[in-house]
């Protein structure tokens, strides 16, 4: 019995949706469940000349992964530096705090001017989404590494570089990983904003916005569901690694 509880609410939502869709009978307000299912169940069919749901999803995932990796490649080293050195921290902190609240979407006009059309400016928007959570968690993770661990390493003869590689990084890894997970989630949420840029002529975000122009609400909802599912899948992947690789964190002490 209890095992069915998690699917109760989704079932209610689906049922409520279908009933409401029939009652309202306005595809702009709420398209019928079937029409959305039709889009979801034909993921390889071309939509509005913009490619299929599947191919656009693949493209979006590729872009997000790329932008995310870029963000991680910069945020992790910077975060380690800022976590270890108060001078570096003082140097960067104020600027980072100011830039952090600016939404990636607000960067669209400048991204376009600076990085031109194409992949670079899309990546920039995604990068912005992922960068700050990764950076802040890396700083926190590095600061949270037990001083004792570092001192043990020092008494056992480790030099600065070895302490970094063998103590700081593995010790901070679980928190950095959380940062990566959160960062990926936000990067993924930025894909719609990024694919609104001119020159992006594919991707899930583009497909949804383009479908809006022709009132194809069922395509928009299908896109939202795919975004939700992919986001969920990546989150689960990150959590799975967390559980299997960083189990020590929860069990420590």
């Amino acid at each position: 019995m209890r095992r069915f509880i998690p699917i109760l609410l989704p079932l209610c939502i689906l049922a409520g949706w279908e009933i409401a869709a029939i009652a309202i009978n306005n595809a702009f307000f709420l398209p019928r469940l079937e029409s959305v299912l039709d889009v979801l169940l034909n993921p390889l069919q071309d939509r509005l000349g913009s490619g299929s749901l599947f191919s656009n999803a693949i493209l979006s995932v590729e872009r997000v992964v790329l932008g995310f990796l870029l963000a991680a490649a910069i945020a992790i080293p910077l975060g380690i530096g800022m976590g270890r050195s108060s001078v570096l921290n003082a140097f960067f902190d104020a600027t980072i705090q100011l830039f952090r609240p600016i939404p990636p979407l607000a960067w669209v006009p400048l991204a376009l001017a600076w990085f031109k059309i194409g992949l670079t400016s899309i990546l920039f928007i995604i990068f912005l989404g992922a960068f700050f959570p990764i950076l802040l968690n890396t700083i926190e993770g590095v600061r949270g590494v037990k001083q004792t661990w570092v001192e043990v390493a020092a008494t056992l003869g480790a030099d600065e570089r070895q302490i970094l590689a063998k103590v700081i990084v593995p010790g901070a890894a679980p928190i950095i990983w959380t940062g990566l997970r959160v960062g990926f989630g936000i990067a993924w949420m930025c894909v719609v904003a990024a694919e609104m840029l001119p020159g992006a002529s594919n991707g899930l975000g583009y497909l949804m916005i383009y479908a809006f122009n022709f009132g194809q609400v069922q395509v928009i909802i299908a896109g939202m569901i795919v975004i939700g599912l992919i986001g969920l899948a990546f989150d689960a992947l990150f959590k799975w690694v967390e559980r299997s690789r960083f189990r020590w964190r929860g069990l420590e002490r």
Partner: protein, 253 residues
């Protein structure tokens, strides 16, 4: 009982900390102590009297405000391979197996895997945990963890072992067991040991000499040699007599 060669000299060491509020706290005042090779010295004193501070200074982790430390005649200014420290709190690397925890000191010296694992095997046996080489620290009890910390310290073959209340977190039975095992290790490896505790019982059970410190700033109040042979019987008249003397020392104000 200072019969052997001099291993460690503490010369006029004092330490003053500056707190965040700009006040100063004097933790230690003019400590002089000479420890012979193979000697087992216990340092006893009330909480906050500077025991940990003293051990850290000896280990080269902190610098004394005045005075100096000599190990085998050489001044200590940084952590030295001649000494290994075992900390009050659990200090194993939770992301490493027992084997790789013990091997840490050898690894940072660049020793090859095969060689270091064979050495580690010896020390695992010494602390009686042969079967646990693949386990992670969180899978072990507190007593087992401190045994591994001891093995890790011994593996780099230091001349001096510095132990800061290593059994403080253990329950009474385990603690008694660990004390007996430590004496056995001391007997087998002939290390010089400096052992901090605030348990009178423990000090009397383990030490060749007991150094009793005053409350902060810590000074040496008295050095009590324990002539009683080993193994000691906790209810023997000699034991009870030394115990009463030390208890009197620390309860009178």
């Amino acid at each position: 009982m200072t019969l052997g060669r001099i291993m460690l000299e503490i010369r006029g060491v004092s330490k003053t900390f500056a707190t965040e509020k700009g006040e100063t706290v004097q933790a230690l005042a003019g400590i002089d102590l000479t420890v012979a090779e193979q000697e087992f010295v216990c340092i006893l004193g009330p909480s906050g009297c500077g025991k940990t501070t003293l051990l850290r200074i000896i280990a080269g982790l902190d610098r004394p405000t005045t005075g100096e430390i000599l190990v085998e005649g050489d001044a200590v200014t940084a952590p030295s391979p001649k000494m290994a420290m075992i900390f009050q709190e659990y200090s194993l690397y939770p992301w490493r197996t027992v084997l790789d925890n013990i091997a840490f000191g050898l690894e940072v010296r660049g020793m090859e895997r095969a060689e270091r694992y064979s050495i580690v095997g010896r020390y695992l046996k010494l602390v009686g945990l042969e079967g646990f080489s693949g386990s992670y620290p969180y899978e072990l009890s507190g007593g087992m963890r401190q045994r591994i910390a001891v093995a890790r310290a011994l593996a780099i073959e230091p001349a001096v072992l510095l132990m800061d209340e290593p059994f403080g977190a253990l329950d009474a039975q385990t603690r008694n067991l660990m004390q007996r095992e430590l004496l056995e290790i001391h007997n087998k490896t002939k290390k010089t040991i400096l052992f901090v505790t605030h348990s009178v019982d423990e000090a009397v059970f383990l030490a060749d000499r007991i150094v009793v410190l005053t409350t902060r700033p810590g000074r040496i109040r008295e050095i009590i040699p324990v002539q009683d042979g080993r193994p000691r019987e906790r209810t023997s008249p000699e034991f009870v007599q030394v115990r009463r003397h030390v208890l009197d020392l620390i309860t009178e104000k």
